[in-house]
Each structure stands twice: as structure tokens, then as C-alpha cells.
């Protein structure tokens, strides 16, 4: 129970800080800052939570239990940062689903769906996002990858092709 309470307090405080910060000023590299907030913030707050436990008369956590709390914070942080990509940029699939659902039992014709997609410049928005994050740059009318490798994308592709053996292109 103590482990659960420590996790709940840490995540509650960190998430509250995130919401307030984001309403005041959106950071430029939002996902990186978010990950940093949860990981570094978690490390900073953990001793405070430990003191709070002592003050409240709760049994202090052992080292193994603190590792468990750390795992929980890391797992939540990663899950939330991944979800945040879906918050930053509209998902074409989910946008389509909401549009189809809003039409009710009548359904939607393909022409209407094409008009809906044309009204939302998903590809342009993705290209802008890649440029803003410094992953690509334009030179003499052509788009190039930035010099530094983007580790996450490389990992995703490596996993897809080598581990899962899926050679069909996604996207």
C-alpha cells in the first residue's frame, strides 16, 4: 500500500506541474521536456515523499520498493509521452473515426471522407513538425535528413523490420 501511495503522490504532483506549466507557456521541444519533468522531477521529489512518509508515521519504503516506485514513474512517463504525440498532432485514423461516428447510422460516402481529409493538411503538418524538431531541413528545394541521427525513429524501424519481420511499409 505504501508503494501505491508513493506512486500516486509523485505522479499526482508531477502531472499537476505539467498542466500548470503547459497553460503558462508551451515549451519548444514538448516531449523531451515532458520526459525530463517526470524523470528528473521524480528523482527530486522522491526524498520529499520519503520525508512526508516519516512525518505521517507511514512505514518507510525499502530500496527495492523505491526501485518499484521508480519503475512506475518511468512506465507512466513513457506511456504519457507516447500518448502526447497523439495530443500534439491529430491522428488521421482517429479523426476519421470521429467524423464517421458523427454521421450516425447513415454512414459516410467515400467522397465525403476525401473532402474531410483534404480539409486537414496532415502531411504538411507532419513535414512542418519534422522541420521544427530539427529532423529535416530544406536545401535548394529538396528536403534532407538532418545530420544527427534520430534514434527513436531508427529504433522503431529496426524493430519493425528485424524483430517483427514486417517489410510492408506503414504510414
Amino acid at each position: 500500500m505504501s508503494v501505491f501511495i508513493a506512486i500516486a503522490v509523485l505522479l499526482g504532483v508531477l502531472f499537476a506541474v505539467h498542466l500548470v506549466w503547459w497553460r503558462i507557456a508551451l515549451p519548444r521541444r514538448q516531449r523531451a521536456v515532458l520526459l525530463g519533468l517526470f524523470l528528473v522531477g521524480g528523482l527530486v521529489l522522491a526524498p520529499v515523499v520519503d520525508l512526508l512518509f516519516g512525518w505521517l508515521g507511514l512505514q518507510p519504503l525499502s530500496f527495492i520498493q523505491w526501485l518499484n516506485v521508480g519503475l512506475a514513474v518511468v512506465a507512466f512517463a513513457l506511456a504519457y509521452v507516447v500518448t502526447y504525440s497523439a495530443l500534439e498532432a491529430d491522428s488521421p485514423t482517429l479523426s476519421l473515426v470521429r467524423h464517421i461516428a458523427s454521421s450516425g447510422s447513415g454512414g459516410v460516402r467515400e467522397e465525403e471522407l476525401r473532402d474531410f481529409m483534404a480539409s486537414r493538411p496532415f502531411v504538411g503538418a507532419r513535414l512542418s513538425a519534422l522541420a521544427e524538431e530539427g529532423m529535416v531541413h530544406e536545401r535548394e528545394g529538396r528536403i534532407h535528413l538532418a545530420e544527427h541521427p534520430y534514434t527513436l525513429f531508427k529504433l522503431v524501424l529496426l524493430h519493425r523490420e528485424r524483430v517483427l519481420g514486417l517489410t510492408r511499409h506503414g504510414g
Partner: protein, 180 residues
Amino acid sequence: MNTGTAIQVLHLLAPLVALVTMALSHAALCRVRPDAAILNLLVVAGFFGLAGLVAMQVFAVLAGQIWGDTLVAMMLVDGPIYACLAYGYANFVNLGHASVRIRIYRELLDSPEGIQVSELRAKYDESGMLSTRLRRMLDAEDLAFDGETYRLKKARLLAISSVIFALKKAVLGRQSEFTS
């Protein structure tokens, strides 16, 4: 190592064992059924992972923990941690499957001389994106097509979109990147 420490270690490792079980079973399923809908394979693999999580709880009981405490630990700590890890893994896989950004990145990786913007737009126009997504959702039976119109068949994607759009409103103050 005393009994209490051993039980704590088992609970620490339980979500990680579950995640590894999920990842390994997912890789095996993808090799055996490469044409199956990726979401369906992830769900099946998730259940394999859950079996791994339960196995670790059994080991905790065998190590001396009482069933009630094990159940509470699983519901409040191990289970939610595994859920987050499994969700992270599922999204990691889905990035390679559905992400437009990663697809563009792949194209650029294969083209050291760069690609013209018009060429990229011709390859990745919204019409192509629509066809790909409709086909995927029809294959996974999330959508039905009666020859004229598309309708939602399963509610799961709508439930996910409702959560995502509510979070967008709460965190960013807007529901779409294309509206203010």
C-alpha cells in the same frame, strides 16, 4: 535474501517479465501471421504478458506472501505498471505501422540526395492516407462498408479517440491542431 526482500524483488520484476513475455509473443505472432491486423496481434500478445504477470504473483505467494496482499499489489501496482509498459510497447509498434512522420523519415533515409517537396506531397497526399486507413480499419473490422457508405462496426477506436480528444482539450486547450 530474506522472504520479505524476495517478495519485493518478485513484484519489482513482475511487470518487466510480463512486458518481455508480451514483446516475445508479439514478435512470434508477427512472424507466424504477418498479414494479420496488427492491433489484434498486440491484444493477443498483451494477454500472454498478463499470463506472465499472474505467474509472477503465484511465485510471490509460493515465496510466502498471503493471497490478499498479492492481489492488492497486482491490482494497485504491478498491474498498472504492466498496463503502462504494454501501452508504451503497443504504441512503439504502431509508430512503425501507422506514423506518417516515420514513413517520411524512411523515405529520406533511402534518399541521401534529398526529395523534392512536391515529390513527397505526391507520394503522401491525403487521398492515399485515406485509402490506407480505410483498408486497415476494414481489415480489423472496425469499419463496415455496404457498397455505398462506411459505418463504424466496433466502438473501440471511438472510445480511444474520445479519451485523446478530451486530453487534448485538458492539456492543450484545443481539440485539433487544425482549429484554435
